[in-house]
């Protein structure tokens, strides 16, 4: 590129900003850049792109670059200025500020907007348009009873499911012959339709919407065949429309978008287009990753390098609707000449697998109803793997997935752009031995986490064997919970500080300090030296820190039972301290959310209730049903038992949080079989004790530990198990991992065999720990540390 070539970029969204960044890799002296920015979308902070792609932050949350950033780099930033004309012959653009700016190279990065089909009535109240998943929330807030979703693509189906989940009656209308026609072939679309219909969603295909009618507000949607769908909301998910108008008006060739060649060049000399405004080979990409690929190619051209031509982007999609697993990648139709498809379909089980092969290489894939091997298949499509490697994925009957031989340059983590080669460096050079350590070294797997199975395969391939995921309590010193327990016991250690001096843990990195505190406190039956710096903020101020730095308050309401008095006080506290929300939690408790740290002591005082420990790795609560007290089906007094259990476990810390439940009959309304500890009353006054259940991130039905004859016995068994877990669980290991790891038989040996005396010894140690425990909200009277609850501590 010649010295100080003049580059003008129209559009300051993701593509535009990324483009400027690419140019700057040559240094600011390479080009003089003029950047026109739409006022709505500020300049994008590229550092957080991966998070945006992973969906953990929205565009709105992305940081803005200060004007100085541009000044320092000599960029002429024209924010809020619209380009209203381009003279492609004299090579000048005119902005709404009246300036003409000359260019050597011009880049359109004007993006796109939601496409609203010209349906009569689309401007009525109750008609929503959306593109991003964030927008769904706004729609859900309107809480429609009957909704029509126009568009049966990925977002349309997700919107429909969101509305159904909130109790709305939903019909999806699409003009195509099958659902998700961008990502699925007809056969998969038909099978998907069945699954979506089973969720209670109405579907009208090959259906054109003729009119949205109603008196000011939406009342119904009329289809071309005359059918009328009553609706109080219409959601339009009809895709995007490129912002190609300006280019078109300037005589540049456009179709759906600005037409570009394999080097992102438009029909006008030295004019390029990238991102959602560009149409390449008939395709407009509405995703971040393809935009960035385009940006790289175009920037290389302008910098005078010779990039490999852009041949389009591999796109992949995953439908996130409960119970329906759909993964699609690449060319699923196999429309190009020479394409062949390998299909395996089982309509009875509702599974459909297809790979499209061209010239012996994998170019597209669909997985429906079975996501086994999905990450591998996506990776294989991305690198166009040889077909014989993946045939087994489709035809393999046992569902087992063999690790695929990835080349080093293959990208494994899409969210953070980490290749297999980078992962291998982390393993061989930096000594990473687990998926977690690879993540620390490379950030692979830190986005959506979908690539973790592939990372594990790479690890196994590199280390030549199965990887045992050793869960270190202190990764720096490579110490497991068992190691630390041993050190604490052997040397009679009573503080995290002296533990650190003994073995180095917790000195240079804070990751393990909270875990060390747990081990030190548990081994010493809570007669340890309490060091608040070795607790998380939640356990320093006894509330759960929220995303804005405020805290939540969950008072203890044993067994989920409260009183009118308590409810009044909770309401008063919420008002007095400007709580952002009062919420009934999933475990029958009331959560006062958004209280400032400095208000916590007074709020607790006003409440006059003990801490519910809803913030720590600790015993939480016992969820109960009303049992024999009220229920006509109850066979056991689950409420009383639940309250007794709660009294015997409250204020105690555990390796990971512990949730319990007590149900008064096998109908199990308290869901006791999916809790860490659950008791269920059965006929004859007997009780089942379940352990190791979960219904959170993991779902696991608990194991039946024992069936006992009375409430007293039920409590005794749960106490023995609770203490056994406290003493043997690994830090952060939930019971649903602990129970299968140790084994039910081994656990029974320790907690049921009363003749051995061990269960009683466990209970004795539990009582000892309990005696030295306390309600931490009492620290409102006598603070544990200086300025414990202070907001700002300046003195004058």
């Amino acid at each position: 590129m010649s010295k100080r070539s003049k580059v003008v970029v129209i559009g300051n969204g993701i593509a535009g900003a990324a483009f400027v960044d690419e140019l700057l890799t040559e240094g600011p002296e390479g080009a003089s850049i003029t950047l026109y920015g739409d006022e709505k979308v500020g300049t994008y902070d590229r550092v957080r792109l991966s998070e945006y792609m992973a969906g953990t932050v929205g565009l709105e949350e992305l940081g803005l670059r200060p004007k100085e950033w541009y000044e320092e780099r000599g960029i002429d930033l024209r924010l809020g200025v619209k380009v209203i004309g381009v003279d492609t012959r004299s090579r000048e653009v005119m902005g709404s500020d009246g300036d003409w700016v000359a260019y050597d190279r011009l880049i359109f990065a004007t993006g796109s907007q939601s496409f609203v089909p010209p349906i009569p009535g689309h401007d009525k109240e109750g008609v929503f348009v959306f593109r991003t998943v964030e927008d769904v929330e706004q729609i859900l807030e309107a809480a429609p009873k009957k909704a029509v979703v126009i568009g049966g693509g990925l977002l349309g189906l997700e919107a429909a499911w969101g509305l159904v989940a909130r109790g709305a009656e939903v019909t999806v209308v699409d003009r195509a012959g099958h659902l998700m026609n961008q990502q699925l072939d007809k056969a998969a679309g038909v099978m998907l339709r069945k699954k979506i219909a089973e969720l209670g969603v109405g579907i009208r295909l090959e259906a054109l919407t003729e009119e949205i009618s109603g008196n000011g507000k939406v009342e119904d949607v009329r289809l071309q065949d005359g059918e009328k769908l009553p609706a109080d909301m219409v959601v339009i998910c009809a895709g995007i429309r490129s912002n190609a108008k300006l280019a078109h008006e300037c005589g540049i060739e456009t179709n759906h978008g600005i037409i570009v060649d394999d080097y992102l060049r438009t029909s006008a000399p030295e004019v390029y287009a990238v991102g959602e405004c560009a149409e390449h080979n008939g395709v407009v990409y509405g995703l971040v990753a393809p935009a960035l690929e385009q940006v790289r190619v175009a920037a290389e051209c302008i910098l005078g390098r010779e990039p490999a031509p852009y041949h389009g982007s591999m796109t992949s999609a995953t439908l996130k609707v409960m119970g329906v697993d759909v993964t699609s990648a690449g060319d699923v139709y196999g429309s190009k000449e020479g394409s062949e498809a390998i299909v395996s379909s089982n309509p009875l089980k509702g599974t459909y697998k297809k790979v499209v092969v061209r010239d012996g290489r994998l170019v597209g894939a669909i997985l429906l109803g079975d996501k086994t091997g999905a990450p591998h298949l996506l990776a294989a499509v991305r690198r166009e793997a040889p077909a014989d490697e993946v045939v087994e994925l489709v035809l393999g009957s046992n569902g087992e997935v063999k690790a695929l031989q990835l080349p080093n340059e293959a990208q494994v983590c899409d969210c953070n752009g980490v290749s297999k080669g980078q992962i291998l460096v982390a393993i061989t050079k930096k000594g990473a031995t687990s998926v977690a350590e690879v993540g620390t070294a490379t950030r692979a797997g830190a986005g959506c986490g979908g690539c973790k199975p592939v990372i594990k395969d790479v690890l196994e391939e590199a280390t030549g064997g199965a990887v045992e995921e050793k869960s270190y309590l202190c990764p720096c010193m490579k110490l497991t919970t068992e190691d630390v327990r041993g050190i604490v016991k052997e040397r009679g250690i009573r503080s995290v500080n002296s533990l650190g001096e003994a073995c180095g843990a917790g000195k240079a990195c804070s990751d393990c300090k909270v875990g060390l505190t747990y081990v030190v406190s548990e081994v010493n039956a809570n007669r340890h030296e309490e060091e608040r710096h070795a607790r998380h903020i939640n356990d320093r101020v006894h509330g759960n820190i929220q995303n804005d730095g405020t805290f939540s308050i969950v008072p203890r309401t044993r067994g989920g039972v409260t009183t009118a008095h308590e409810l009044r006080r909770i309401a008063d506290v919420a008002e007095k301290y400007d709580a952002r929300m009062i919420k009934i939690t999933g475990s029958q408790r009331l959560d006062i959310l958004g209280v400032k740290k400095e208000d916590l002591p007074n709020a607790w005082e006003d409440l006059g209730m003990p801490s519910g420990f809803a913030y720590g790795k600790a015993f939480r609560q016992v969820k109960t049903c009303v049992g024999t007290d009220f229920c006509r089906f109850g066979v056991g007094d689950s409420t009383t038992l639940g309250i007794e259990m709660e009294k015997s476990f409250e204020n105690l810390y555990t390796p990971a949080k512990v949730k319990m439940a007590a149900s008064g009959c096998p109908r199990n309304c308290a869901e006791a079989t999916v809790k860490d500890v659950g008791v269920v009353a059965i006929e004859g006054g007997r009780w089942q004790v379940w352990i190791g259940g979960a219904a959170g991130m993991d779902v696991r039905k608990g194991d039946l530990l024992a069936t006992v004859d009375s409430q007293e016995e039920a409590i005794k068994v749960t106490q023995a198990f609770f203490q056994y877990y406290r003493e043997n669980g690994r830090w952060k290991e939930r019971t649903y991992d602990f129970v299968p790891r140790v084994g039910l038989e081994e656990i029974r040996k320790h907690v049921l065999d009363e003749e051995s005396g061990e269960p009683e010894r466990l209970r004795e140690r539990l009582r000892a720990a309990k005696e030295a425990s306390f309600d931490p909200w009492q620290e409102r009277v006598k603070n544990k540390t200086k300025n414990q609850f202070a907001g700002v501590i300046n003195d004058t």
């Binding site: 620390t440 917790g506 300025n787 700002v792 501590i793």
Partner: protein, 124 residues
């Protein structure tokens, strides 16, 4: 606030005993939140808004001279302001000195900050 003589713009913020050993506390300097940390290597100060999602670093977990944000565990080296486990821009750090039990922060670096802390998404 008291002016302290010498180069820079030294502002007295608190007493050293106000910040427990191996913990942080928040102070306000010229309308900005600043976290003051009492580490094994002495006192440090940093802009109290995590460069990741705005979490209060003063409520973080401290070891050595590294504080981990309480919201999402981004680790910040207090000597340099560098984020150790993410690709984020540095956070601002301020020179600190302790004299006669008083902690002083050099507020000169504050001129580099544009938006007051109160508007930066972090509640008190």
């Amino acid at each position: 606030m008291t002016r302290k003589n010498g180069p820079g713009h030294w502002v007295r913020v608190c007493r050293d005993a106000d910040v427990p050993f191996l913990e942080g506390r928040r102070v306000e300097v010229g309308g900005f939140y600043v976290g003051v940390f009492n580490t094994e290597e002495g006192f440090f100060a940093a802009y109290d808004v995590c460069p990741h999602r705005g979490g209060p670093l003063s409520d973080g977990d401290l070891a050595g001279t590294i504080v981990a944000c309480p919201l999402h565990g981004r680790k910040i080296e207090l000597k340099t302001g560098k984020v150790l486990n993410d690709n984020l821009s540095c956070t601002f750090t301020f020179p600190v000195r302790v004299e006669d039990g008083s902690v002083f922060v050099d507020a000169e670096a504050l001129t580099a900050l544009k938006a007051p802390a109160r508007e930066a998404g972090s509640a008190a």
